[in-house]
Structures are given as structure tokens and as C-alpha cells.
């Protein structure tokens, strides 16, 4: 199973906690997925409703590791303050670092991301940067002290899958020993299997499960796809070729 910052997690599936039809559906999706990590966020508490406390009890009951995010942050300062609040709230130094640079695509701001990562690593955070598949950005984030990278498959919430397989393969090949998670954009289990076949260590998704007609069934589907992809990667896939090659021996064929 994947190891992030020296900690082995129970599954290559990291699952978000937003947009489920109900807390019960969320809990069932986690149960059937076997996800080892739940992503969470910090938000304002609206006038005494105590929704945050109820949510905290729900998450604590899942028995998974939590990965707080800085979702919605558009500046380094905002992301750092959010990360500090999240560390205190969730009692973890893990942080999924989002510094958004474009509102329409939710594309990361690479410059702000590197700066925020550098500052947070200096404060002892274990940073999981939500990034594009850019090689140079990856290099800078590693220099900043990140030990895990989280390239997007596609923009958040789109379900478009792995939009740039070339870029993702290149990233995987350039940094073979860095744990990498495909974060965002997955819509189907087959896309998650493809990510694992490429050699990624895990995937992080939310909408594809939460917005499925049957979230728990979709969660289990993703879990099985990840296992299939992981097995295939480890088994050494055959090299593709352009020309056909008969799988049935030609020798001994009857003359008819």
C-alpha cells in the first residue's frame, strides 16, 4: 500500500467527503470503498448550528486518516492561514495544498503553490500539493520539500479522466521514487485503473462517487479498479506493438 511521509495507508483510494446525499450514504461509501484517507476542509460555522461538530464525529467514526485541504484559497497567505487552522482542528500535519490560479478551471497557481509549499514545509507540514502534471513544477515542489505529488487528471469535478496521459507518464518516469496521487478529474473506475497501470500510487476523488446514482456501489467499483490497476502494473504489462502477432502457434497447423 502507498506510503506517504513514512506512513502507510490502508488503500490506494483517497476519498473526499463533500456532496454526498446524506451522512449515512457517505459512511456507507467509505465502508465499501475501504478508503484509507478522507479529505476534509475547514469552513465557517454558521450561527450556532454545530454542523461542524456533527461532521467531526462522523469522520472520527470512519476510522480513516484525514487529509485537510485548503480548497478555495487563491493566495499564499490565505492557504497558509487555512493550513494552520486545519492543523489545529484536525490534529494532523498533513495538508492537501490548493492554491487556485484560475476560477473556471480550478487550475493551480504554480508560483503560489511552490511558495506556499516552501513556507508550510518550513513549519513542519507534510504537504500534498494539488498540481498540474508539469515536470518543472514537480521539480520545484520537490525542492521546496514536498515528498508527495498530486497531479490532476482533469479539472476538479469534471469527470473527464486522464486528459494528458503523455504528461502524466513523463512525470511518473522522471520521478520514479516519489509517491504520486492522481487528484481530481476522475469520473469512472476505468480511469482510476489506468492511473494505477501508469504507475501512480493512489488516486484522490470525490465527485465521481458522491454524485453517482449509488455512491457506495461506485466507491466499491473504484476500489476494485484500483486493485486491478495495481496488480497489472506489478505484473509487467506486455509492450504494445503495431503489427499483429499470432498468439496461436503457426507450427503444426493442419494443411487443409
Amino acid at each position: 500500500m502507498p506510503v506517504f511521509y513514512g506512513t502507510e495507508v490502508a488503500s490506494p483510494l483517497m476519498l473526499g467527503t463533500a456532496q454526498y446525499p446524506s451522512p449515512a450514504v457517505l459512511a456507507e461509501a467509505f465502508r465499501r470503498s475501504g478508503a484509507g484517507v478522507a479529505t476534509v476542509s475547514v469552513r465557517r460555522e454558521a450561527g450556532g448550528e454545530r454542523a461542524g461538530q456533527d461532521f467531526w464525529r462522523l469522520i472520527a467514526g470512519l476510522g480513516v486518516r484525514v487529509l485537510p485541504n485548503t480548497a478555495g484559497c487563491h493566495s499564499v497567505r490565505e492557504a497558509i492561514t487555512t493550513a494552520r487552522m486545519a492543523r489545529e482542528l484536525f490534529e494532523t500535519d498533513w495538508i492537501k495544498l490548493e492554491v487556485i490560479g484560475n476560477t473556471d478551471t480550478l487550475q493551480p497557481d504554480p508560483f503560489g503553490l511552490v511558495e506556499a509549499a516552501r513556507l508550510l514545509v518550513a513549519e513542519g507540514f507534510k504537504v500534498f500539493p494539488y498540481m498540474t502534471e508539469d515536470l518543472v513544477l514537480a521539480d520545484r515542489l520537490l525542492q521546496a520539500g514536498c515528498e508527495v505529488l498530486m497531479p490532476w487528471g482533469a479539472p476538479i469535478g469534471t469527470g473527464l479522466g486522464l486528459l494528458n496521459p503523455y504528461g502524466l507518464r513523463s512525470l511518473r518516469a522522471h520521478f520514479p521514487d516519489v509517491p504520486m496521487v492522481i487528484d481530481a478529474g476522475l469520473g469512472l473506475p476505468s480511469q482510476a485503473a489506468a492511473a494505477m497501470e501508469m504507475g501512480f500510487d493512489a488516486v484522490l476523488l470525490n465527485t465521481a462517487v458522491a454524485k453517482a446514482g449509488e455512491p457506495a456501489a461506485m466507491a466499491e467499483g473504484f476500489a476494485k479498479a484500483l486493485e486491478a490497476g495495481r496488480l497489472a502494473r506489478g505484473a509487467g504489462p506486455m509492450p504494445p506493438r503495431d503489427m499483429a502477432a499470432p498468439s496461436t502457434p503457426v507450427m503444426g497447423k493442419a494443411f487443409l
Binding site: 465557517r44 450556532g48 485541504n69
Partner: protein
């Protein structure tokens, strides 16, 4: 004095952030705080004196992806 709490202007008699949290019913709740965009750890809340115009953020655990 007038301060802003989670984006809403309100009047408070609380002199510290810790007192404000009690006033707002967050005394025993799992919350994190920031004042004027700077994180304030739980241990520093009672020592943080509020001033008119301060912008206070109080956040809790929530769903995220």
C-alpha cells in the same frame, strides 16, 4: 465595539478572542480561529485583545474533496 465575525458585522463586549468564543457559544466546540487574516492558536485566544474593526474568522471541520 463593532467587529466582524465570519463576514458579519456585530457588536461585542468581549475584550479577548477567548471571551468572544464563549459569548458566541463556541466555548466547548472544536473550532479554529484567525484574526485579521492571521491564525490564532487555541492557547493564544485568551491573550488576544480585540480592537474595533477586527476581522475574526471562526471555522470548524467540514466536508471537503
Amino acid at each position: 465595539m463593532k467587529i466582524t465575525v465570519n463576514g458579519e458585522t456585530r457588536e461585542t463586549a468581549s475584550k479577548t478572542l477567548g471571551a468572544l468564543l464563549l459569548e458566541l457559544g463556541h466555548g466547548d466546540a472544536r473550532v479554529a480561529t484567525a484574526v485579521n487574516e492571521a491564525f490564532v492558536p487555541a492557547a493564544a485566544r485568551d491573550g488576544l485583545h480585540l480592537a474595533a474593526g477586527d476581522r475574526v474568522e471562526i471555522v470548524t471541520p467540514r466536508q471537503g474533496g
